[in-house]
């Protein structure tokens, strides 16, 4: 389009080019904005999730304990068999007397319901340590029952009608009184980390589950790492490249995408029903998780091996190294950062898996800490599931606390993966 002012059409072209440039820059800015928006949304969700968990779970980290004077009545405490006495009833009776409701059996029961059965063990331990204490009055400190604890944390309020509450008005008054007297103190909830699962929320902890998870991960690592890395090294360096090995590679990639619950079914059928290994043990859990982690480890290791430049292999071969020597002396050390990252990520995934463990029986209630790989045990991820389904209100906050413990372990493992990878990275 030429005219007298612009005979060669150059100005028109320049203007068109300038307009086009403006559009390109606008597109770039929009694209950057989308990217920032995406990151912002992801971060927002992350903060939301972590915030919710923290909000729900932080109250689980402290708990209230009551210090109450208990007169160890010789008539009710046997010197020969001190742990046989019902210290809980004893303390409740005495406390009811002090509150002036000793003749009302319902009231006495309500007083007893405020105390945890742990009081029995605390008192028995005190008496066994020094039997001369029988006949004296001891100040015994024991956790409060979970409902009392919840009231003191503000979870149970007087605003709900009494018949819809776990605690009666009377019990709430008594708790306020104890608080005013200074008999109640809030302390860090060590029970959460030193005890195993329990039907009583105030006595429930994650220890058994943590040990169970640790034992399981040990079995998983001991099996999946050597087999996975070995298989990947063989497939990548030594196996002939033909249709059969292609088929193997396709199958391994598919296995990595199989839902984990299918591995649970496999474990149930193979390890429990056919091999008769003990149900709900870290051994079977570790075996199932090892099968599940193998494809991930194999794929990550093969990828790391592929990334080592062929010039290193050629240099090793040219100096007279055999295939095996070239791989193990040169290629594998250079691939080590990638292998380690893949392995630790696979382990972190295995730590968080729940579905396969449920199928091999870990959903059962296991109160103790497993001693051996064949003992029944629980796992941290399964514990979260069990506590979430429990009926007591106090397990609500403990579920969130267990999730926080689980997430802390996973973050720690991923941090170790990153540190190790940085440490072992080498230039070539």
């Amino acid at each position: 389009m030429t005219d007298a002012l612009d005979p060669t059409g150059q100005q028109t072209r320049q203007r068109a080019a300038a307009a086009q440039l403006k559009r390109r820059y606008a597109r770039e800015r929009r694209f950057k904005l989308y990217g920032q928006l995406a990151i912002g949304i992801a971060l927002a969700f992350l903060l939301l999730l972590v915030g919710r968990i923290f909000e729900q779970g932080h109250t689980a980290f402290y708990t209230h304990a009551l210090t109450t004077p208990v007169y160890l009545d010789p008539a009710r405490v046997d010197r020969v068999y001190p742990s046989g006495a019902n210290y809980l009833q004893l303390a409740a009776d005495q406390q009811a007397e002090r509150l002036g409701v000793a003749d009302d059996p319902v009231a006495v029961r309500e007083v007893r319901d405020l105390l945890s059965s742990e009081l029995n063990f605390v008192a028995a331990a005190a008496v066994e340590a020094d039997p001369s204490r029988i006949g004296q009055t001891l100040q015994l400190r024991a956790p409060l029952d979970d409902s009392a604890d919840l009231y003191l944390k503000g979870e149970i309020s007087r605003n709900t009608p009494e018949d819809q509450r776990v605690l009666s008005d009377r019990q709430l008054d008594w708790l306020d009184q104890f608080k005013a007297n200074g008999q109640i103190e809030a302390r860090f909830n060590t029970v959460l980390f030193t005890r195993s699962d329990s039907t009583q929320p105030e006595l429930a902890g994650v220890l058994g589950a943590v040990i169970g998870s640790a034992l399981m991960l040990f079995v998983t690592a001991a099996l999946a790492l050597p087999i996975g890395v070995g298989a990947a090294v063989y497939l990548e360096e030594f196996a002939p490249k033909n249709r059969f090995t292609d088929l193997i590679e396709v199958n391994i990639n598919n296995l990595a995408a199989v839902p984990s619950i299918v591995y649970g079914l496999l474990g149930l059928a193979l390890f429990i029903n056919w091999m008769h290994l003990p149900r709900s043990s870290p051994l079977v859990g570790g075996l199932v998780l090892a099968l599940m982690s193998l494809p991930t480890i194999i794929i990550a290791t093969r990828s790391a091996l592929k990334s080592v430049p062929p010039s290193i292999r050629e240099a090793a071969l040219a100096v007279g190294a055999s295939r095996t020597q070239a791989v193990f002396h040169h290629v594998l050390p250079l691939a080590a950062p990638g292998v380690m990252t893949g392995a630790i990520i696979a382990m972190a995934h295995a730590l968080g898996e729940t579905a396969p463990l449920l199928l091999i029986g870990m959903v059962s209630f296991v109160p103790g800490v497993p001693d051996a790989l064949t003992d029944p045990s629980s796992a941290l991820s399964v514990l979260v599931y069990i506590w979430e389904n429990a009926s007591e209100r106090a397990f609500h906050e403990r579920t969130a606390a267990a999730i926080m413990v689980l997430l802390t372990f996973m973050i720690a493992m991923n941090a170790v993966a990153i540190i190790l990878r940085r440490r072992f990275e080498r230039r070539w």
Binding site: P240, K241, I312, A315, L317, V319, G320, A321, R427
Partner: protein, 285 residues
């Protein structure tokens, strides 16, 4: 078709010596041309269906530098790699024909390529030292071949190899620093030191200077001239000037065939084949 100008083995060697006595060849004294070290008999290489090297027969004398020249893709690197059976590492490659080193055919199943590669060392185009210390780079070969029994022996081998590669003075104080931290020219000399540490008989060099600057190139060429007194050296090069400077014998390849070979001076001043003349005058390639 066998390369024209290549005859029976003894006739060729005799012709080279007699002819060389009359003319002063480039690259040194002809009295150092040794007996035949490597003899190729009708060597062909197939990559799957494609034939990359067609019926090559060639004699390579000891204590000499033999240069392979030719345009890209003519098969000279492929032929070089046959001599230490590096083509075995390529799954689709098939090498037929006889490759005799000191009269013994090494292109058979009976010969272990691992042992062969200790006798025939290789230096690649891009320097590829191991990402280990300089000491470890040189010590690796002798260690896996069991050439030493004590640490002091190993120290001795490392020092002598680095000295002969002309690198000792520059790295003696940092033997345990990474080999990859050296400059390109130093890395290539390190690779040469690594190759001679296993006490080879033949050293193959695949365009060793193409990734280096002119000064480093000159040093490597000096080194090659020093080394040829002791080893049989075969060098593939794209630079005809380098071939003329460094080698005593030259072989010209074209499209998978060996076109002509003979004393370097003959090839560059008075080639027999038309194609050779066209190549060295720059008409193609």
């Amino acid at each position: 078709m066998a390369g024209s100008g290549g005859g029976a083995s003894s006739a060729d060697a005799g012709e080279a010596e007699a002819g060389a006595a009359a003319r002063a060849p480039a690259g040194g004294d002809t009295a150092l041309l040794g007996p035949i070290k490597v003899s190729a008999r009708s060597v062909s290489v197939f990559y799957g269906e494609k034939q990359a090297l067609i019926d090559v027969s060639l004699e390579i004398p000891d204590k000499t530098v033999t240069a392979f020249i030719g345009p890209s893709g003519c098969g000279k690197s492929t032929f070089l790699r046959c001599m230490n059976r590096m083509n075995d590492t390529i799954p689709a490659a098939k090498v037929t024909g006889g490759i005799l080193i000191d009269g013994e055919d090494v292109n058979t199943r009976a010969v272990d390529p691992v042992l062969l590669r200790a006798r025939v060392g290789m230096v690649f185009q891009k320097p590829n030292p191991f990402p280990k210390s300089i000491y470890e780079n040189v010590a690796y070969g002798p260690r896996i071949h069991g050439l030493t029994t004590s640490k002091s022996e190993m120290d001795g081998i490392v020092e002598s190899s680095l000295r002969r590669a002309g690198l000792w003075d520059e790295v003696a104080d940092r033997l345990h620093s990474p080999g990859t931290g050296l400059s390109g020219g130093q890395q290539q000399r390190l690779v040469i030191a690594r190759a001679i540490a296993v006490q080879p008989e033949v050293i193959l060099m695949d365009e060793p200077c193409s990734a280096l600057d002119p000064i480093a190139t000159a040093r490597i060429e000096e080194l090659i001239d020093e080394l040829r007194v002791q080893y049989c050296i075969v060098i593939v090069t794209h630079s005809m000037a380098q071939a003329a400077r460094v080698s005593q014998r030259t072989a010209f390849f074209h499209m998978g065939k060996l076109v002509e070979h003979g004393p370097t001076e003959d090839i560059f001043t008075n080639p027999r084949e038309r194609r050779t003349l066209d190549y060295i005058t720059g008409r193609f390639g």
